[in-house]
């Protein structure tokens, strides 16, 4: 398997508090990699560290051949490592289209934004309907689509999805889970942290279980799904 993103022994956290205690993982090219674990196990911290929102204390993050753990977040975005954060974090006072446009701020995406935005609207027709509406007035599901769309606007190579269905109605969650596999067809690698264990392992090529800031299990998606220890770790 060709790794697009390679994580070697990274540690990080918030100030004095260390959350990640040496993570090793790979994200395959155009594959879906799932990250599961209980609340507070370090899923969000890992994604935020990969995106450069949190600083890496030690360890390496390799994007292809290049070490990127010291790069600021905007340079990682420019390389195509883009996060869709937990809680959506859309810009409430900007319109839907303006939100999408902010996603294309990096050099690679900037000039082709008008082309990309059409593709995003194709993927999420709902956003086209709400094009001029302020993002703060959208429903939760629409905001999630917007956040996802905004991530796609940056032309990601690696998309880091943090709890994309948290707090959404089941029907909307289903919609989102249907879209994610489509993205790999456009050669996007996906690393997804998700609470809905079964659903995410259904679509994932590979999965990691994280506990207390360490990877405790890893296997193909289907193997993990059938492993009773996983469910236990998840609940514990």
């Amino acid at each position: 398997m060709n790794a697009r993103l390679k994580v070697e022994g990274i540690r990080s956290g918030y100030g004095e508090i260390q959350v990640l205690r040496g993570i090793e993982m790979l994200c395959g090219e155009a594959q879906i990699t799932a990250l599961v674990g209980s609340n507070g196990a370090g899923k969000s911290t890992l994604l935020r560290t990969l995106a450069g929102i949190l600083p890496t204390a030690t360890g390496r993050i390799l994007h292809g051949e290049a070490e990127i753990q010291r790069l600021p977040s905007h340079e990682r975005v420019a390389r195509g490592i883009i996060m869709v954060p937990e809680g959506r974090l859309v810009f409430p006072d900007l319109s839907v289209e303006e939100n999408l446009r902010t996603g294309a701020v990096n050099v690679r995406a900037r000039d082709v934004w008008s082309k990309t935005v059409k593709e995003v609207y194709d993927l999420f027709p709902r956003l086209l309907e709400r094009q001029k509406q302020l993002a703060g007035t959208l429903s939760g599901g629409e905001q999630q689509m917007l956040a996802l769309g905004r991530g796609l606007m940056g032309l990601p190579e690696v998309l880091l999805l943090d709890e994309p269905t948290l707090g959404l109605a089941p029907s909307v969650a289903t919609q989102i889970f249907n879209i994610i596999p489509q993205l790999t067809e456009s050669n996007i690698s996906i690393l997804i942290a998700e609470q809905d264990l079964n659903r995410v392992l259904d679509i994932a090529h590979f999965g990691y279980v994280i506990e207390n800031g360490r990877i405790t299990m890893q296997d193909t998606g289907s193997a993990l799904r059938n492993n009773p220890a996983v469910a236990e770790a998840y609940l514990g």
């Binding site: 905007h74 996060m83 810009f91 900007l94 902010t102 900037r110």
Partner: protein, 296 residues
Amino acid sequence: MIEILISPQLAFSALVLGSLYSLIALGLNLVYGTMRLLNIAHGDLIMIGAYTTFWIFTLTGIPPFVGLPLAAGIAAAIGAILYFSIFRRQLSGIDRVERIEANSLLLFFGVSVILQNTVGMMFSGSPRAYQFLDTVYEVSGLMMTGNRLAILIFAAIVLTSVVIFLTRSQYGLSISALIQNQTAARVVGINVSRLQFVSFISGFALAGIAGALVSMTEQISPFMGFPFTIAAFVVIILGGLGNIKGGIIAGMLLGFVEIYVVVLTSANFRSMLIYGLFVGILLLRPEGLLGKTRRH
């Protein structure tokens, strides 16, 4: 009474005052919005802008409009020095983010004291003034002093171009995004620290421009800045801290309120009214009169 209230003269004054309020609040808001820094030295940058324009005009005869970019440039340069020597350090380091607002007040208070007294040392405390564009123009009963009209026009030009820039350009959009949510701005790949720097010096430059305009009608002294700082704070509280458009509208609103209340009640209540409004808004709607209630 009614005749006075509907006279265009009052409306014109309200527009001039309001646009000036909007302009001085704009710079303050830009700095607060993008960096959460409360710049109580803002008025002192206005003072610097006024002195720059005054000296250029007095020594060379170059009119304030031409001196204006230089006033903006000097204010921006002071901004750049402060950014690199003090605030860049303050902004990095997550553990300090919560303290940054309170700290910035103290830091800028220090800056304010330094600026006032440095200028006082250089040029003495004597009030200065110059005569420029003070012919009165009459347009169908409305009388306008040239310099006040110029303030209105220039402020309007600056305000509209800033609003257009913020809403239309990719760069301005990024600034709006940064103001609304810093983490999200980093997530989408906005170069936050560069944008903060640009906003910081733009905020200072706007203060310099305001100073250049103010110098045409008011006396200039090293300690003239504080009332402007206060006015700017009242405005950005009315409009909602960090809300750029809200601040511009609130500035205009305050201009009108001030002018018309003086006529309707008594000039004696002017300051009580302004501070009463200020305190009332903070108590009842801390997100600003024009801000949206939002949980964050």
